[in-house]
Amino acid sequence: MSDAARKNQVTTRDVRLAFARFGPPALILAALLLAWELAVRMLGIAAWLLPAPSAIAARFFRTQDLGYHTGLTLLEAGLGFAISAVLGIALAAGIANSRFLERGIFPYVIVSNAVPIIAIVPLLNIWLGFGIATKVVIAAIITFFPIVTNTTRGLKAADERILDLMHSINATRRQIFFKVQLPSALPFVFAGFKIAASLALVGAVVGEFYGADRGLGYLVITAATQLRTDLLFVAIFVLAAIGILTFTLFGWLERRALRGADAVDRRR
């Protein structure tokens, strides 16, 4: 057997490790679902009040346009996130390198976070209508703050001595930004992305609460007003699953981008 083949072989040790990690939460989840199912059946709880897990699962498989609603919400959140990431990192670069921008703009970035996004949604509806654009903008606004603040902090955390070294060999601002500041900001950028990813989803769903006719937020609102509680649970579970997946994805991206680097060595 070659080394590569041996490497790919799943050993009993791997299985044991996987079980040690995923076994306990899986067992707890199974126990909770079982207790829920039994409670609903034995106490005769009405389906509009609390549907059994089996009923929710059945509804999940019978909701044909679930993929469409999910895709739309993901698109809105993703677009908003992407716009915010590009603009946010650009602004953070400006703030980290210019006293004027730091003093002139940073206070407003912080104030912008103090305005409840929900209060702005009707205004955006007046301006942009009830289509996808409004939701994208909401997702962009709500993710802007964590991306700008984290990236700014990261850009400023660059090692002073390496900056001195770059200055001592007459490096340009551009070289300093791309070779030193941006790479050393990456852990902070990813921390901001992780927060922003879940917020983008919140933004898209909140946008869909107000006069939308599609998307997971729309599904939540209509299911609730029609007391289709099983459908409501389906939408909630899908949203939870998206949240977990994006968090895992960004965690993985973060580890990939930071090979070699660890938190301890950063300050040395």
Binding site: D159, R161, I162, D164, L165, M166, H167, S168, I169, N170, A171, Q175, K179, V180, P183, S184, L186, L258, R259, G260, A261, D262, V264, D265, R266, R268
Partner: protein, 244 residues
């Protein structure tokens, strides 16, 4: 030459009336207590910070011009490597900034790392290297584009005794072969005497030059010299200058 800072409305004189001539290819140690402005002096020499009065001339030009023609290689107390770059890529950083042919960069890095016995670690990340290995990488990073002057700010003070002595010998070896001018900041008397042609003794608040002592020890310096009477006598002379 002098340097003053304004801190909380008060002007603090960091360095006062410092005047020093350094010959090409000379190894000069700056020795003094914490707060005597040794590191500030390096920053002023390399134009990272302007003097508040006086001038700095480097090889026939102003400090700013010398910086623009990449005369200065910096080595810091801790290696200050980029954790996301391998040893080799850390050495390559200055080559990407100064005007160095792209095709020759890799070969240059490999050759430099081999010279300090780090060739087999060239793909290692800094967190996989020991303190001494990191400092070796930092030293060849400062040599990579062949600057004429090395500015070293307590480069060995965080290392254990054995590693420190080894690196001191490595540095002397590099210095004698490459004919660099070295300005070496330290607070270790034995280190200053062992390495330098001249020891510049400084005092603090404000930083002044108290004495300049010529080290009367033959070259090449070898580890056994540390136990000779001449070495001890040199150390005593420096210590007396430091204390008076």
């Amino acid at each position: 030459m002098g340097v003053a800072f304004e801190a909380r409305g008060r002007v603090v004189q960091a360095i006062s009336d410092v005047s020093l001539d350094i010959v090409d290819g000379e190894f000069v140690a700056l020795l003094g207590p914490t707060g005597c402005g040794k590191s500030t002096l390096l920053r002023v020499v390399s134009d990272l910070q302007p003097p508040s009065n006086g001038t700095v001339m480097v090889r026939g030009a102003t400090a700013a011009d010398a910086r623009r023609r990449n005369d200065f290689g910096f080595v810091f107390q801790e290696a200050a490597l980029m954790p996301w770059r391998t040893a080799q890529d850390n050495v390559r950083l200055p080559l990407e900034v100064v005007d160095f042919p792209a095709a020759d960069r890799e070969a240059r890095c490999v050759e430099l790392l081999r010279r300090v016995g780090m060739e087999q670690f060239r793909h290692a990340y800094p967190n996989e290297l020991s303190g001494g290995m990191k400092q070796r990488v930092a030293i060849v990073r400062a040599l990579s584009w062949n600057p004429s002057i090395l500015l070293m700010d307590e480069p060995f003070s965080a290392l254990d005794e054995l590693t420190k002595n080894q690196l001191q010998d490595d540095l002397l070896d590099i210095w004698s072969r490459e004919k660099k001018t070295i300005l070496f900041v330290t607070h270790n008397i034995s280190e200053a005497v062992y390495l330098a042609d001249r020891v510049v003794v400084m005092s603090a608040h404000p930083g002044r030059i108290k004495a300049v002592i010529d080290v009367q020890l033959p070259r090449p310096r070898i580890a056994d010299m540390r136990e000779t009477l001449e070495f001890v006598a040199q150390m005593r002379a420096v210590r007396e200058a430091l204390l008076t």
